[in-house]
């Protein structure tokens, strides 16, 4: 009589990779066979208990931005390249522009632009701080082409307007909307 299966051999038996000589032992050994059946059942239960985790696509945008921020705050030499992690926010800016267009280009804008929307006003003169999140978004949004907007937002945009075609009041309203969305991402 040969010795019982070792742990490694038991795993091999469960995974059907046990060498033939040891498989012969398994055929004739009730304790080993029972162990393989039991542990195989446990393995099946473990597989069935898996909870596949699939976060929202928006999470990845947020995550990459957070990684970028963490690296950036560490004084990394990659800070310039990580600047492109603000790119997802361009889609947000484009979406907001489209929402304004859908709303009939007649938003109830505040009389004065909100403080966080200073970049809109600054477009006419003062330079915005280079690394303020809001300014980065506005800078990107201001340069969006219609094709870029169309790629970001899958809607018909035949009558859409570019950011720089908006009135000051509309830009202020867009600024407020984007600021609200950005705060939600924080």
């Amino acid at each position: 009589m040969t010795h019982h299966l070792t742990p490694e051999e038991t795993i091999a038996a469960i995974e059907r990779t046990l060498e033939p000589a040891r498989a012969a032992h398994l055929d004739g050994c009730e304790p080993c066979r029972r162990e393989v059946v039991d542990l195989g059942g446990v393995l099946t239960a473990v597989r069935a208990a898996d909870e596949p985790a699939e976060p929202s696509p928006l999470f990845w945008d947020h995550m990459t931005a957070r990684v970028r921020d963490a690296v950036h705050s560490g004084g990394s030499p990659a800070r310039a390249a990580w600047g492109r992690f603000w790119q997802p926010l361009v889609g947000l800016a484009a979406a907001a522009a489209v929402l304004m267009w859908i709303a009939g280009r007649a938003p109830q804008a505040p009389a004065q632009p909100p403080a966080t929307g200073s970049a809109v006003v600054a477009d006419a003169g003062a330079a915005p701080p280079a690394e303020a999140p809001w300014d980065a978004v506005m800078e990107l949004a201001a340069g969006l082409s219609l094709d870029e907007v169309h790629r970001a937002v899958p809607l018909r945009l035949d009558n859409a307007v570019l950011f720089d075609e908006l009135s000051a009041e509309e830009q202020a309203a867009l600024a407020e909307l984007l600021d609200s969305e950005l705060r939600g991402l924080e």
Binding site: V46, A49, P55, M63, V67, V71, A80, R84, V90, V149
Partner: protein
């Protein structure tokens, strides 16, 4: 000058060419396209100054890293924190990466370490393994979804109470579907030790979840 397709991320407006022109140094911008490069080439590119190569590595591995972390901590919030931690550590360590293992193996090793540290910090220090209640098999019925769900939750709780190395081996083998060679590379030790850990994990679970 980087080509736009080198930096393409699906689902996003591609204004990177303009952004890179504005912010990137010539040394970083120079170089061949990276989008089709394998992981090793991306590492070499990063080490040569192409920091954009790291973004491609993040994009390729972020999902599996997230899922691995999630399987240890069981919540989106914790997994989100951990995956960020993994990639920040990876960014800081990639310059010293020597290619002795694959990038995936390296990232998984970091992921397992940060996940186990998080789990260890939260686990009640006096909670013994034997504290897991055995399954109430009287209630099990193959057509009873609710009972089945509870049984699965019980298995997950039992897995969460395994010793760290057994748990890591189980997660990497069963859920991440890695071979034993890669598991051994991630966790340290031999292939035989990885198989033994897997055996002991299943045997421990058997005592907890089977009558």
């Amino acid at each position: 000058m980087l080509l736009e397709q080198d930096l393409a991320l699906p689902g996003h407006v591609d204004v990177r060419h303009r952004e890179m022109t504005r912010t990137e140094s010539p040394a970083v911008a120079a170089g061949p396209p990276l989008a089709d490069a394998d992981d090793s080439a991306l590492v070499r590119a990063f080490q040569a100054g192409r920091t954009d190569a790291f973004e491609l590595l993040v994009e390729r591995h972020r999902r599996s890293v997230y899922q691995l972390c999630f399987r240890f901590v069981g919540s989106h919030e914790d997994a989100a924190d951990l995956v960020q931690d993994v990639f920040v550590r990876a960014f800081k360590g990639l310059a010293r990466f020597k290619g002795e293992s694959s990038v995936r193996t390296w990232l998984y090793r970091v992921s397992v370490n940060v996940s186990l540290n998080r789990v260890a910090a939260r686990r009640h220090p006096t909670e013994p393994l034997d504290a897991v209640e055995p399954a109430d098999t009287r209630a099990v019925h193959p057509l009873d979804t609710l009972v089945r769900g509870e049984q699965q939750a019980q298995v997950r709780r039992a897995v969460a109470r395994l010793p760290p190395k057994q748990r890591a081996t189980l997660v990497l083998r069963v859920y991440q579907e890695l071979d034993y060679e890669e598991i051994a590379a991630i966790l340290g030790g031999s292939v035989g030790a990885a198989k033994a850990n897997f055996f002991h994990a299943l045997a421990s679970l058997k005592r907890q979840v089977l009558p």
